[in-house]
């Protein structure tokens, strides 16, 4: 038998410990993506042409280039400008900014889906622009985006192993180190895969529930 249960049980605690790091990176990265994405989406609608255009280009550029090289970029370039951050922080920033390009599109679609009548009614009531955005448009725009954002949360979770490339001790990096020390890659890598699969399946089930709750009716 190639597979050793004994060894698998042996390495399980280390991998579960690293799972906590993976989840931290996912949650923190998602927070960055959720906030920054809204920023890009709003910037794209600013009536100042060059600014809107720049936001559009940035989003397009970030979306069509690999996350890995963006991670390296921040990892190697920030120190050149005297910004010394821990690899984990850089990883969270990189993954968060990468996905902010996707969430920006989600928010934009959400904002555009708010009926024009809502704007007209708010203006007719003489509400200030800030109140129209904060009290009328955004609350309606964000609601249908919740399940879509959930899907990006899962995608981010599955992209956290890229942080292994800059020495963050998340699950894959831990599995790799165990493999290098013991010359047994099969068990740690398989367990890592299974943990990813189980969490993704549970999370997808959760997102489907969100779809039912948020998408139909208001």
């Amino acid at each position: 038998m190639i597979w050793s249960w004994e060894f698998a049980l042996d390495v399980l605690p280390d991998l579960l410990g690293a799972f906590v790091v993976t989840m931290e990176a996912t949650v923190a990265g998602f927070a960055v993506a959720a906030v920054a994405g809204l920023g890009w989406a709003l910037l794209r609608m600013v009536p100042v042409r060059p600014l809107a255009r720049a936001a559009f280009l940035f989003v397009d550029f970030v979306r069509s280039t690999p996350l890995l090289i963006q991670i390296y970029f921040l990892y190697f370039v920030l120190p050149e400008y005297g910004v010394a951050l821990a690899p984990m922080t850089i990883g969270i920033l990189a993954i968060g900014l990468h996905y902010s390009a996707y969430t920006a599109e989600v928010y934009r679609a959400g904002i555009e889906a708010v009926p024009r009548g809502q704007w007209e009614a708010a203006r007719a009531l003489n509400l200030p622009t800030s109140a129209i955005w904060l009290r009328i448009v955004l609350p309606q725009a964000v609601r249908p985006t919740v399940p879509v954002l959930g899907n990006y949360f899962i995608a981010m979770f599955k992209d956290t192993p890229l942080l292994a490339a800059i020495t963050v001790m998340e699950m894959l990096q831990t599995a790799k180190l165990i493999g290098a020390e013991s010359f047994r890659y099969l068990e740690p890598l398989t367990i890592t895969g299974v943990i990813f699969l189980v969490v993704s399946l549970v999370a997808s089930y959760g997102v489907r529930k969100l779809e039912v709750r948020y998408a139909i009716g208001r």
Binding site: P66, L68, F76, E80, L172, G193
Partner: protein, 222 residues
Amino acid sequence: MTDLLAFLRTHLPALVEGLRVTLQLTLGGAVVAALLGVAAGLGRRSRSRWISWPAHLYVEIFRGTSAMVQLFWFYFALPFFGLGLPALVTGVLVLGLNSGAYFAEVVRSAIAHVDRGQWEAGRALGLDDRTILSRVVMPQALAMMLPPAGNLLVELMKNTALVSLITLSELTFATQVQRAATLQTVPLFALALLVYFAVAQVLLTGVRRLERRVTAYRGLRA
């Protein structure tokens, strides 16, 4: 200006060599993904459990685990079963398996969205299911598949960067090697990012053109 020329003369050959491997991975992965995606997408609709179950399992496993974990598993764990593959083959295979699982869902949902009346009309004309699928349903589904397929293609191209981590000298790897040699970090990474961006634009333009041809062929657009 002369600085830029000198910079390009020093680094461009290595990056172009890396780009060649990146394109090989993208193309190879796309072919594997297209075949697997169509097979699994159709397989999931099969009435026989012996076909629909493995197709479903494949889709769930390769969508549910991370592409990078899959890559490492195939490169480091598969040799324990006596199956050690070269890095390029592993890269093409894993990229194809991963994208194929996403593409299978695209194929499945596109077929499901073709009007049921098309099947009924086909049967009323005495066509067998296989002919209806290949001559009536698939051509219509194809038009729906193309836009998401274009996005998947760009995602696949982006994922080729991961293969640098199993020692294959594609664009990201070549950039890293050049950086280690000359420490020209910012311009090198900026150049690599621009090359990736350009490749993505070319791929998207290609798919959009194909889309226009398919819709024109079907007479959907005047």
